[in-house]
Symmetry: C2
Subunit: 538 residues, 2 copies
C-alpha cells in the first residue's frame, strides 16, 4: 500500500504522457500482484447502478462506475422538479461524490468482451446532447447513439473488470407512434424535467399579450393569438395513467392553481389538463377503491381522465400556432378525424430495452477464454427483451457445455456467467419475471447483490452458502394526486388524503439521498410554499 | 374603481376575442375619463428599470414594464453563480412578482413615436435565443435582433404611455476583435453564467480519462488527450481586469481549490488561471495600495495577471482539441506569433450601446403632435453614444424652438421631452458625464426618479419645486478576491482581507432582493460551504 501510494505521488509530478503511461502499466502490474482487491465495474448510474456502487464495500472491492450520466436522479421527485416545487439539484447526486470514493468514467459502454473480461468505453464528457430545447430527452438522444445521427466519437479506451454489473436501465417506448419522438416530452431524466418546466411557463407567457394589436396604423407583422389558439396552447396532455403521468398531472395542477393563478389570472378559464391511457383503469397497481378515489380527486380539480383512448399520431398544429408557438395536433382513434390541439404532450408510458442490452443479448462469445470452447450468448427474456438472471442475479447463458475448470461456479442445471451480474430495469430474474420495472425493485436488487458480494470475496465458495436468492419485498406504492392529497397502498394498509400526503413527503426523505439533499428538499418545500414557486425561465 | 373591477370580472367570462377587444377599448375609454392614473411605461428589467418600477408608487401611477427578459438579475453575485457558490434562481427576481402589482409584456421595444406617445412592441416569449450552449450570450444574441439573423417575428402590438422611462442598458463591447463573439463567454446575464459553469465542469470531466487507451487490440477511434492538451483545456483566461473579471477569477479559484481539488486531484498541477488587461493597472477604481494588495493575494493563489497585454484574435485550436473539445487559440500582441491556448475565455470588458438606443438617438420626430412643428431628435452623447438627460433625468432634445403649449415644462435653456426619462447605462446625465456604468449609479438614478415622480403627479408644477437634480453618492466599491478575502473602498474607509469579506457578504443581503432570496442566498452559502459546490451538469 505504501509503495503504491509513493508511486502515485511521484506519478503526479511526471509531465509526459509516455512516462505516465509506463507508470500506469507498472501500477497495474503492481496491483495484480499485491493484496489484490477485485475490481467491480458498474455500468449505469440509476437506481440499480448507483445504489449498488454505494453499498459495495470499498475496503473489499475496487469500485469503478461507467455511465453517460455523471449523476444519479432521485426519480420519485422528478415530477416535482418539472414544475418548480423542488429545484433540480435537490434530486441529483453526483456519482463522483459517493462516500468511500470510487473511480468514474463518463461514457458509453460500447462493447463487452466476456472472454477476456474487458469493456470498450467511449468517452462522452463533451456536452452536446443534453441542452437542446427540443423535446427529445437525453435518454432518447442516447438511443440515437446506435444510428447515424450519433455525434462525433469521443476517445475510446478499455477497462478491465473482475466482476461486471450491468445496470444500464431502459428507454422510453413510443410504440412506433408517429410524432412522439419529435413532439412529445418524456419524463425520465433531469433534462426532460427542465424542458417541461420551461415549456409550461413559456406557454403562459406567450398567451399573455393584448388580444388586439391596438396599433393605430394597423400594421402588424405577427398575428396575435386568438382565444381558441390560447385554449389550444394551454391544453396540457399527459399520455399514460401510471404513477409518473398521474403525479405530473397533479404537480402541474398545483403549479397552476397555487402560483400561475395569481400571475396570469385572466388565463385561468382557458387552461385544461387531460390524461389519456389505453387501459380501462389508471393506476393499475392500486386497488379499485384507491384508484376510484384518485379519479374523484382529479375530477374535483378539473383534470380530465380519458381511459381506453388510443393516441395514433402527434404533429405540429396548422399555421403559426404550430410553426411559431410549438402547438400540437393529436389524432386519437376514439375521436375519428377530429384532432385534439395542445401546447404540451408528456409521454409517460412504456419501456423498451437499451440498445446496449439488445447488442449484448445477441452477442456470441466463449464463456471461457479458450480457443476451442463452444459459443454462448446471454439468455434473453422473450417477453421484454431483458437479460435473464438466476436468483443470485448472475447473467444466465444458453450453452450447457462448460469446461471443468469453471464447474464449481456454475450450476449445471442453469449455466451462468459467474462474474457478470444484471440488475434493474434491464434484468429479468428467473422466478420473478412479473416484477415491475420500478425504482423499488431496482434498489432492492442492488442492495441484495451488494450484500451478497460484501459477504465474501472468495470465489471458490459456493454462492449458496453466502447468500439467498433475491426476493422482492413490496414496501407499498405511493402516488401524489395534487392539492396536498395522496394515496398509499401496501400489504399492511391503505391510506388516502392528507395522511397519505404526509407519508409521501416523509418517505422520500429517508431513501438514497445525501445529507445535503435531505436538507435542501424540505427547504425548497417550505420556501416554495411560502413565497410561491419560481417562474423564471433561463 | 368598483365599476372597473366589475368590468374586469365580467371580461374574464367573455369567450371570444371580439368581445374582449370591445371591452378592452371600453376599459381604456373608461380609464381616460375617470380618476386618471398616469401610465408609466418602463423599458428594461435591469438595475435601473426594475428598481424604478418597484419604487414608483402604484397608487399614483399605472406601472407597465416591457423587457425581453422577464426577470431582474442581481449582478454583483453573478460571478458566484457561474461556479456554483450560489444557485441561479437565488439572484433572480421575476418582474411579474414585484410588490404592488404591475403589468408586464415580454418583448422588444422596436420603435417609439414620441409625438403620439406610443411604443411599438414585438413579443418574444417564445424561448429560442437563450438556450444554445454556444458562448454567444443572450445579450449578444439580442444584438443580432438588428441583423438578418433575427428569429421570426413574434406578434407586434402598440402600448401607449403617459410617461416613458428608457432603461434598456448596454451591451458587451468586443472592439471588433475577431473571434470574440463566436468563442468567448460574456458574464452579464444568467444565461452567460450557466454556460460558463457547464463549460468549466465539462473541461475537468473531459480531462479525466486514462492517459493511454489501454486497448489490447490497439484499435482506438478517438485520440486520447495528451498532457499538453489537458494543460491547454485547463487554462482559464479572463479578459478584463475590472471588478467583474477579478471576481470571476476569484470565484473560479475557489471552486477549483475548494471542490475540484478533491474530485480531480490528479488534474490540479495542470490548471492555470490568467487575467489579461490592456491597462497598466487592474481594478482602476481602487487606490494603488488596495490594487497592489489584490495582486499579492492573486499571486499567492497562483492567478497570473498580465497587464498591458492586448488580445488580437481568438480562434478554435488546431485539430481535435479545437474541433471536438472546444479548445481555443488566442493571439496576443505582446507574444508575437506564439499563440496562447485555453479551454475557456471570459470576456468582461467594455460596453457599447444597445441598438435600440442607437435607433432612438438618430430618430427625427416632432416634439409636439402638430403637423407644422419643427423636427427634433434626442441629444446623443458624443463620447459614449448614450442619451443625454438633464439633472432631472429627462431626455434632452436638440431643437430650441418649442411651441407655447409646452413651454411650462421645458427650460428654454435646455429643451427636454418632459415625459421621457432615461436612466441607467444608456443615460448620460448633464454635469455627471464621467459617472461609471455601474449598478450603484443605475439604482440611485432609479430611486431618484421614482421619488421625483412620486412626489407629485401634477405636471403643471415646475419640476424644480418637487425635486433636486440627481447627485450620485458613492457608497464605495467592493471586490471579492477569492479565499475569503476582499477589498472595500469608500470615502470613509478602506478595508482588506477577511473583514472586507464580511462586509462584502453582508452588503449584498440588504439590497434590491426579495425576502425569499435574502433567505436562500445565506442558505446556499452555508450548504455549499459544508457539502461543497454542486458539480452536476445538465
Amino acid at each position: 500500500m505504501i509503495a503504491r501510494g509513493c508511486i502515485r505521488r511521484n506519478a503526479r509530478q511526471l509531465t509526459t504522457s509516455t512516462e505516465q503511461a509506463k507508470l500506469f502499466k507498472a501500477v497495474t502490474f503492481l496491483h495484480s500482484n499485491n493484496t489484490k482487491k477485485k475490481r467491480v465495474v458498474i455500468l449505469g448510474s440509476g437506481w440499480a447502478g448507483y445504489s449498488f456502487a454505494r453499498t459495495l464495500d470499498p475496503a473489499k472491492y475496487e469500485r469503478v462506475v461507467i455511465s453517460p450520466r455523471s449523476y444519479f436522479v432521485f426519480t420519485p421527485l422528478l415530477a416535482s422538479t418539472s414544475v418548480g416545487t423542488l429545484e433540480f439539484r435537490a434530486i441529483l447526486e453526483p456519482v463522483r461524490r459517493a462516500p468511500g470514493g470510487l473511480r468514474f468514467y463518463q461514457g458509453w459502454a460500447d462493447d463487452v468482451d466476456f472472454s477476456r473480461k474487458v469493456i470498450r468505453v467511449e468517452a462522452n464528457a463533451i456536452d452536446k446532447l443534453q441542452h437542446d430545447l427540443s423535446p427529445i430527452s437525453a435518454s432518447t438522444a442516447a438511443s440515437e447513439v446506435a444510428t447515424e445521427t450519433r455525434p462525433p466519437k469521443g476517445e475510446v479506451f478499455d477497462v478491465e473488470y473482475d466482476k461486471l454489473v450491468i445496470a444500464v436501465g431502459a428507454y422510453s417506448q413510443t410504440f412506433g407512434i408517429a410524432g412522439v419522438r419529435e413532439h412529445a416530452h418524456f419524463l425520465r431524466d433531469i433534462g426532460d424535467a427542465r424542458r417541461i418546466r420551461l415549456r409550461v411557463l413559456s406557454l403562459f407567457e406567450q398567451c399573455s399579450y393584448p388580444a388586439s394589436p391596438g396599433g393605430k396604423d394597423g400594421k402588424t407583422a405577427g398575428k396575435p393569438l386568438t382565444e381558441d389558439e390560447k385554449k389550444s396552447l394551454l391544453h396540457f396532455v399527459i399520455v399514460g395513467g401510471g404513477p409518473t403521468g398521474i403525479e405530473f398531472a397533479a404537480e402541474l395542477h398545483d403549479l397552476i392553481h397555487e402560483d400561475l393563478k395569481k400571475i396570469y389570472p385572466e388565463l385561468m378559464p382557458l387552461v385544461r389538463i387531460t390524461v389519456y391511457d389505453v387501459a380501462p383503469k389508471v393506476l393499475p397497481m392500486f386497488d379499485k377503491a384507491l384508484a376510484q378515489y384518485a379519479m374523484e380527486v382529479f375530477a374535483r380539480q378539473g383534470i380530465q381522465v380519458r381511459t381506453e383512448h388510443h393516441l395514433q399520431q402527434i404533429r405540429a398544429a396548422d399555421g403559426t400556432l404550430g410553426s411559431a408557438h410549438g402547438g400540437l395536433s393529436i389524432k386519437i382513434k376514439e375521436y375519428g378525424d377530429k384532432e385534439v390541439e395542445a401546447g404540451l404532450v408528456v409521454w409517460s408510458t412504456g419501456l423498451m430495452q437499451n440498445p446496449f442490452v439488445e447488442q449484448m443479448v445477441n452477442k456470441q462469445f466463449t464463456a471461457v477464454n479458450e480457443a476451442e470452447a463452444p459459443k454462448s450468448h446471454l439468455l434473453k427474456d422473450p417477453r421484454t427483451g431483458g437479460i435473464v438472471t438466476d436468483g443470485y442475479l448472475r447473467a444466465r447463458i444458453t450453452d450447457n457445455k462448460i469446461s471443468d475448470s469453471n464447474k464449481t461456479a456454475i450450476s449445471t442445471a442453469a449455466p451462468v456467467l459467474p462474474d457478470v451480474f444484471v440488475i434493474g430495469d434491464c434484468a429479468v430474474v428467473e422466478g420473478n419475471e412479473s416484477l415491475p420495472k420500478t425504482a423499488q425493485v431496482a434498489s432492492q436488487q442492488a442492495a441484495h447483490l451488494a450484500r451478497q458480494l460484501n459477504r465474501s470475496t472468495d470465489e471458490s465458495i459456493d454462492i449458496k452458502s453466502v447468500s439467498k436468492p433475491f426476493k422482492f419485498r413490496n414496501w407499498g406504492t405511493l402516488t401524489y394526486l395534487g392539492g396536498w392529497k395522496a394515496i398509499h397502498q401496501s400489504s399492511a394498509d391503505t391510506l388516502r388524503g392528507w395522511v397519505a400526503w404526509i407519508v409521501w413527503r416523509g418517505a422520500y426523505l429517508t431513501r438514497s439521498m445525501s445529507v445535503r439533499n435531505k436538507l435542501m428538499v424540505p427547504v425548497y418545500w417550505f420556501v416554495n410554499w411560502v413565497f410561491g414557486r419560481d417562474i423564471s425561465r433561463f
